[in-house]
C-alpha cells in the first residue's frame, strides 16, 4: 500500500514538481493550495507526511502546522517546511510549530525524497 504525502503550496508549478518527484518514488500525493485548503482536504484522509510552504495566502504555513498539530490524528504526522525563506528566525518558528525539517527552495528531488524517506511514518 503506497504511503500518502500532502504538498501544500500556492504555486501550482511547485506542487507539480513535488508531485512528479514523489510519484516517481511510489508515493501517493495530495495537493492543497494553502493552509485552509489543506486542513479541509485532510479530513477523512490518511496522510503519512506533509510538505508545506510558509508564505501562502489565506493561511500561512506556520499557522497551518500549528492547526495541524491540534488535530489528534495528525499530532505525530511529520511536516517538512519547503520555502524560499532561509532566515534562522523563520526556521525557529517552523520548529516551534512542530515541523521536523526545513528545506529551502529550490530543492533537489533526490534530497527531498531522502528527507521524506527518513521522516515518513511507518
Amino acid at each position: 500500500m503506497p504511503k500518502t504525502v500532502m504538498i501544500v503550496d500556492d504555486s501550482a508549478s511547485l506542487r507539480q514538481v513535488v508531485n512528479i518527484a514523489l510519484k516517481g518514488a511510489g508515493y501517493d500525493v495530495l495537493e492543497a493550495s494553502d493552509g485552509q485548503d489543506a486542513l479541509a482536504k485532510l479530513t477523512g484522509q490518511k496522510v503519512h507526511l506533509v510538505i508545506s510552504d510558509v508564505n501562502m495566502p489565506n493561511m500561512d504555513g506556520i499557522t497551518f502546522v500549528k492547526n495541524l498539530k491540534q488535530l489528534p490524528e495528525y499530532k505525530f504526522t511529520p511536516v517538512i517546511m519547503l520555502t524560499t525563506e532561509s532566515q534562522e528566525g523563520k526556521k525557529a518558528e517552523g520548529q516551534a510549530a512542530g515541523a521536523k525539517a526545513w528545506v529551502v527552495k529550490p530543492f533537489q528531488p533526490a534530497q527531498m525524497l531522502a528527507a521524506v524517506g527518513k521522516l515518513i511514518l511507518p
Binding site: 507539480q16 514538481v17 512528479i20 524560499t84 532561509s86 528545506v103 529550490p106
Partner: protein, 320 residues
C-alpha cells in the same frame, strides 16, 4: 508676479504632474507585473507537466525494452526465449544422436548375423562331407555284402538304403549351403546398404548439429546485442532522468519569481493607495523598512542591501 513666485508655481505643477502620473501608471504597472506572474506560472505548470509525461514515457519505454530482453514483466523475453530454444534444439540433437546409435546397434546385429550364415555354410559343408563319407561307407558295405553272397543280401539292402540316405543328406547339405550362401549375400547387401545409410545419416546429423549451433550462435549474438542496447538505453534513460531532475530544480525559479513580483506589485498597490487617498507619504526610510519586512527570499534581501543578488542554490535542508 516675481521670479520666486513663478518658480514655486512650476515646482507645484511638476509635483502635481508626478502625482497624477503615479496615480495612473502605478495600477498599470501592477497589472503588468500580475500578468507576468500569471503567464510564468502557466508556462511553468505546462513545462513541468510535459517533463512529467516525458519521465513516464521514458520509464515505460525502458520497462518494455527490459521486458523484451529479459522477460522481467512476465513476457517471453529474448534471454528466456534463447534459453528455451537452446534446450529444445539440444533435445533434437540428442534425439538424432540416439537414433544414430540405434541404427549402429542394428548394423552390428546384421554383421553378427552374417557371421552365423558363414558358420551355417561351414556346417552345411560338413554335412555334405559326412554324406560323402557315408556314401563311401555304404558302397564298401555293399561290396562286402555282395562278396558274402546270399547271406549278405539283407545287409546289401541296408547298405543300399544308407547310400540312398547319404545321397539325400549330401543333397540337403548342398541345399543348406546354397541357402546359407544366398542368405549371406542378402545380409551382405543389407549390411552395405545399412552402412551407406548410416554414413549418410551421420553426415546429415552432423550437418544438422552444425546448423543448429550456427543458428543458436546467431541468436545468442542478437540477444547479446539486444541486452547491450537495453543496458545502453537504461543508462541513457538514467542520464535523461538526472537531466530532468535538474530541469525540475530550475523550474522552481517560477515560485521565487512569483513571490518577488507579488511583493513588488503589493508595494506598487500600497503606493497607489496612498496617492489615491491623498494621505501624506511616509518617510522613505520607514517605507523601505516596511518593504524589507515583506521579503521571503535571500536575493530580495541581498538586493535591498545593495549586495550581489545571487540566487539560492539547491538544496539546503535542516532537520530539527
Amino acid at each position: 508676479m516675481n521670479t520666486q513666485a513663478l518658480g514655486s508655481n512650476t515646482a507645484l505643477e511638476a509635483e502635481s504632474n508626478i502625482d497624477a502620473l503615479c496615480r495612473n501608471v502605478l495600477p498599470l504597472w501592477a497589472k503588468q507585473v500580475d500578468a507576468v506572474r500569471g503567464q510564468t506560472e502557466e508556462a511553468a505548470v505546462a513545462l513541468t507537466g510535459r517533463f512529467a509525461r516525458l519521465v513516464e514515457r521514458l520509464e515505460a519505454a525502458v520497462a518494455a525494452s527490459t521486458d523484451t530482453a529479459n522477460g522481467t514483466q512476465g513476457g517471453g523475453g529474448m534471454q528466456r526465449l534463447l534459453g528455451d530454444s537452446e534446450q529444445e534444439l539440444q533435445s533434437v540433437v540428442a534425439a538424432l544422436r540416439s537414433l544414430l546409435e540405434t541404427k549402429e546397434n542394428m548394423l552390428a546385429e546384421v554383421v553378427r548375423l552374417s557371421q552365423f550364415t558363414k558358420e551355417l555354410e561351414q556346417m552345411a559343408a560338413e554335412v555334405a562331407a559326412l554324406a560323402a563319407q557315408t556314401k563311401m561307407l555304404a558302397l564298401n558295405a555293399a561290396i562286402e555284402a555282395a562278396r558274402v553272397g546270399e547271406a549278405g543280401r539283407g545287409f546289401a539292402v541296408v547298405a543300399d538304403e544308407v547310400r540312398s540316405l547319404s545321397l539325400r543328406s549330401g543333397e540337403t547339405g548342398n541345399h543348406i549351403r546354397e541357402k546359407a550362401i544366398a542368405i549371406g549375400q542378402a545380409i551382405g547387401s543389407v549390411q552395405k546398404v545399412s552402412q551407406d545409410v548410416a554414413q549418410r545419416d551421420q553426415q546429415a546429423s552432423a550437418e544438422a548439429e552444425r546448423k543448429i549451433h550456427r543458428v543458436l550462435d546467431d541468436f545468442r549474438g542478437t540477444a547479446e546485442q539486444l541486452t547491450r542496447s537495453t543496458t545502453l538505453l537504461q543508462q541513457e534513460s538514467m542520464g535523461i532522468r538526472d537531466e530532468i531532475a535538474d530541469v525540475l530544480v530550475n523550474l522552481q525559479f517560477q515560485d521565487r519569481v512569483s513571490q518577488i513580483l507579488a511583493h513588488v506589485g503589493a508595494d506598487m498597490d500600497k503606493l497607489h493607495a496612498h496617492l489615491a487617498g491623498d494621505s501624506a507619504l511616509p518617510d522613505p526610510a520607514a517605507w523601505l523598512e516596511a518593504l524589507a519586512e515583506t521579503y521571503t527570499t535571500a536575493e530580495q534581501r541581498n538586493i535591498h542591501a545593495g549586495a550581489d543578488p545571487a540566487a539560492q542554490q539547491a538544496s539546503d535542508i535542516t532537520f530539527f
